[in-house]
């Protein structure tokens, strides 16, 4: 038994007392229930029980009358029942523990997974360098467009639009996260039309390009659509991670060679309140382990709730190895979206400290007065011009 243990750190607030709450948490996420049982033996507890590793007190009453204790509590869990499976890991670290009566706030803020756990998950097939290599781009950010308008896409012939943005200098185009596909046949004809355009562009210019088709659906539908994309020569798909789930993403990663553009839509719905849910730093690691190559994060001056510092921190998390000593590259390419345009490229590169990311622009391209080609060209020029000046 006993390879290295799994560490999970929670931020807890408790009117009943942190130490008592932490003991109940340990039981709930391993061998215990609400009563002691005759066959919960010491041997079982020793091998499978969760342990409280440390309690770090925080002094932060929210109001004068706030009597809740507040602390960071580090737990360690046995790998012997989690056994390398993401869904069992989550049942333990993000399962019924979120229902504990003894806490008024519980958030998973950090997860430290041992290398044997990492090895049992597929991880990204392409990630940062695989994406850059496939597109033949080095020394600048990858540039991408979010196809507009968004829904009922199947009814619209995208080919002309795709041609324009690729001619304007984009490397990558992707569907919106809201697609409302009208059946397999329509999806197939849309994919074939787009891929024909992409192929023509590659032959004409010698520059590689990628289109990520949104295939979010039930797993059998996703497999069917993945096969359609592959048959048409496509190499990338988009998946709404939170709404499809770990089992579908892992299985697609294992069973297809497609690049997985992971959309984080839905993350905020359960994680925006700092009292509950899990930190983005934990969340993004889990999806990389399942096999996401790209992760969408908002960028500088986005239209959403997080500030620039939080968004840049999220980019940095995607670009950090889960374990520094890992030989496998498990970084994901941050796909930086939400109100992005060419004017933000250099500021983003400076803030991130690298060009290992993908810019995603929507309105800046498709609402450009000169049309999508001019909009794409303006973004490409913004990068090239400023670099020449500096």
């Amino acid at each position: 038994m006993s390879e290295q243990r799994i560490f999970a750190t929670y931020e807890l607030r408790s009117p009943a007392g942190i130490e008592g709450a932490a003991h109940i948490l340990a039981g709930e996420q391993s061998t215990g229930t609400f009563v002691a049982l005759p066959d919960e033996s010491q041997a079982i507890k020793d091998q499978f029980g969760s342990r409280i590793e440390s309690i770090t007190w925080i002094d932060s009453a929210r109001e004068p009358e706030d009597r809740d204790e507040h602390a960071l509590v580090a737990m360690s869990l046995s790998p012997d029942f989690i056994n390398g499976d993401l869904t069992t890991l989550l049942a333990a670290v993000c399962g019924n523990v979120f229902e504990l009566a003894e806490v008024s706030a519980i958030r998973l803020v950090d997860l430290d997974l041992p290398s044997h756990f990492l090895d049992s998950c597929p991880g990204p097939r392409y990630g940062v360098s695989g994406s850059q290599d496939l597109l033949g781009v080095a020394g600048r950010p990858l540039l991408g467009a979010i196809a507009r308008p968004r829904p009922a896409m199947s009814e619209i012939d995208r080919s002309a639009q795709v041609r324009e943005v690729l001619d304007g200098g984009m490397d990558f185009v992707k569907d919106d996260e809201v697609v409302a596909e009208r059946g397999t046949d329509q999806f197939a004809s849309r994919v074939r039309a787009v891929m024909q355009t992409v192929d023509e562009h590659e032959q004409r210019t010698g520059a590689a390009a990628l289109y990520a088709f949104n295939i979010s659906g039930s797993y059998d539908t996703m497999r069917e659509r993945a096969d359609i994309v592959l048959a048409a020569g496509g190499r990338a798909v988009q998946i709404n991670l939170a709404h499809t789930g770990f089992s579908a993403v892992t299985a697609l990663r294992r069973n297809t060679p497609l690049m997985i553009h992971g959309h984080r839509v839905g993350w905020a719905a359960f994680n925006r309140d700092p009292d509950f849910g899990i930190n983005f730093g934990v969340w993004q690691q889990l999806w990389r382990l399942a096999g996401a190559d790209h992760l969408v994060v908002p960028g500088l001056g986005s239209r959403y709730w997080q500030d620039d510092a939080a968004n840049i921190a999220a980019v940095g998390q995607c670009l950090s190895q889960i374990r520094a000593e890992s030989s496998r590259d498990d970084r994901a390419l941050p796909a930086i979206g939400s109100k992005q345009d060419g004017s933000k490229l250099h500021a983003t590169a400076a803030a991130v400290g690298s060009v290992d990311w993908l810019l995603l622009a929507g309105s800046a391209i498709f609402q450009h007065p000169g049309g999508p080609r001019a909009g794409a060209g303006a973004i490409r020029a913004a990068w090239d011009n400023e670099r020449q000046q500096s």
Binding site: T33, P38, L100, V178, G245, S247
Partner: protein
């Protein structure tokens, strides 16, 4: 409150903001519809509500003190969602929750028209199918247990435990959600040992207990292979941790499964406990009923967790509410149960179409497992016949002993 527009999908959000309602609702509509004419949701009603004194806003880079709150009901045009539940999720639970103008946003209610529900399979078995496979008569809840300790037992120990529960006459038993495939209890070995024991007992007593094996896996194809392993061994139920396995793989399983699917909601607390964000169980159960499992966890009266009895009663109602043309879900009542809660559960819900689970309450009973089962059965029988709990316990020592042991705790 929800007005009747049977042709469209309706969603009701409870919001609060430091901006004017007009401003924030217009931002919501733009985000929900992608800022595109023709597919924007229609605001059906806006019902202002009083801001509570202790309401605190969600974090936002443009944080302002809250000044208005409201229930906002929207209806979606067909072209936006196009009968696709994954698109619906991307809209309903999508980037609208990221809007900086919102100080709180919670999805409280979802109704879908019959035409939408008809596109989805819903529960394949429901209460009747579950009863039939478990050999349980109607007129009472299905009674069950959870193998405890949650993790650590070997397949042989698990099998012996389940044999004891089956001998005692239980209808149902399930793996804990933490027990999937452990180093000392692979699913394959556990299924083989448990089903051998189940069939031995069934040959003796003439009834086969339903065992929900936890087939959760982070690989959708493995999930379905696990189901096949259970069915090949004669198993009659599979359990999935739905929040972690996810809707895509559960939908796939639903299309392949030949036995009831037990939907374990662990992690749900993280999706609903904040009063400022997340969603209600009504929404959650509507989504999972469409995707199509059979039995969904709802917690229990006087449970060991944070949830109030009112919330549990409402959840049972959501599982059983009509949703033409789909079957109801079987509410799975569990957590800290030992029989003492039967009276109140029945008084408040007036239904026996439940799966009532006692884990520690049966396996921790001072007189043993058979007495634990007797206590739970006696308590439910009394509740249905209107016999007060005290009278039932006075006439049945196992129930009296259970009350003495667990009554103060819960």
């Amino acid at each position: 409150m929800t007005s009747v527009h049977p042709q469209r999908i309706h969603a009701r959000y409870r919001i609060a903001s430091g901006f004017s309602l007009e401003q924030v609702i217009s931002a919501m509509v733009a985000e929900l519809g992608g800022g595109q004419s023709g597919i924007e949701p229609e605001v059906v009603s806006v019902t202002p509500i009083a801001l509570s004194d202790d309401a605190k806003p969600l974090p936002s880079r443009t944080l302002r003190p809250l000044r208005a709150a409201a229930d906002v009901e929207v209806a979606f045009p067909d072209a936006l969602v196009n009968d696709d539940i994954f698109t619906l999720l991307a809209v309903l639970l999508g980037n609208v929750f990221e809007l900086r103008e919102l100080g709180s946003i919670r999805l409280d209610n979802l109704t879908v028209p019959e035409a939408f529900a008809s596109k989805y399979p819903g529960p394949a078995f429901g209460i009747e199918g579950t009863r039939a496979l478990a050999g349980a008569e109607s007129g009472r809840p299905l009674l069950g247990s959870i193998v405890k300790p949650s993790v650590g037992l070997t397949p042989e120990q698990t099998a012996a435990k389940i044999a004891g529960l089956a001998e005692a006459g239980l209808d149902f038993v399930k793996d804990d959600e933490l027990m999937a495939s452990a180093v000392n209890s692979s699913l394959e070995d556990r299924v083989e040992a448990v089903m051998r024991a189940v069939h031995d007992v069934a040959d003796r007593i003439g009834r086969k207990i339903m065992v929900a094996f936890n087939i959760s896996s982070h690989d959708a194809e493995r999930l379905v292979r696990n189901h096949d392993t259970v069915v090949a061994a004669g198993g009659t139920c599979v359990m999935v941790s739905i929040n972690h396995v996810g809707p895509s793989a559960v939908s796939f399983l639903r299309s392949r499964s030949s036995v009831p699917i037990h939907l374990h909601r662990n992690g749900w607390g993280g999706m609903t406990r904040s009063p400022r964000t997340g969603m209600s169980f009504q929404v959650y159960s509507t989504i999972w009923r469409l995707i199509g499992g059979d039995q969904l966890h709802v917690n229990g009266i006087s449970n060991k967790f944070w949830e109030s009895d009112d919330s549990v009663v409402a959840s049972i109602g959501s599982c059983l509410a009509p949703m033409v043309p789909l079957r109801p879900l079987v509410p799975v009542v569990s957590s800290g149960q030992w029989g003492g809660q039967a009276e109140e559960t029945y008084r408040r819900t007036r239904t026996v179409d439940l799966l009532y689970l006692a884990g520690g309450g049966i396996q921790g009973h001072p007189d043993g497992v058979a007495a634990g089962v007797d206590a739970v059965r006696t308590a439910w029988d009394a509740a249905i016949r209107g016999v007060p709990f005290a009278d039932a316990a006075a006439a049945n020592p196992p129930l009296a002993h259970a009350a003495a042991m667990f009554g103060k705790r819960t």
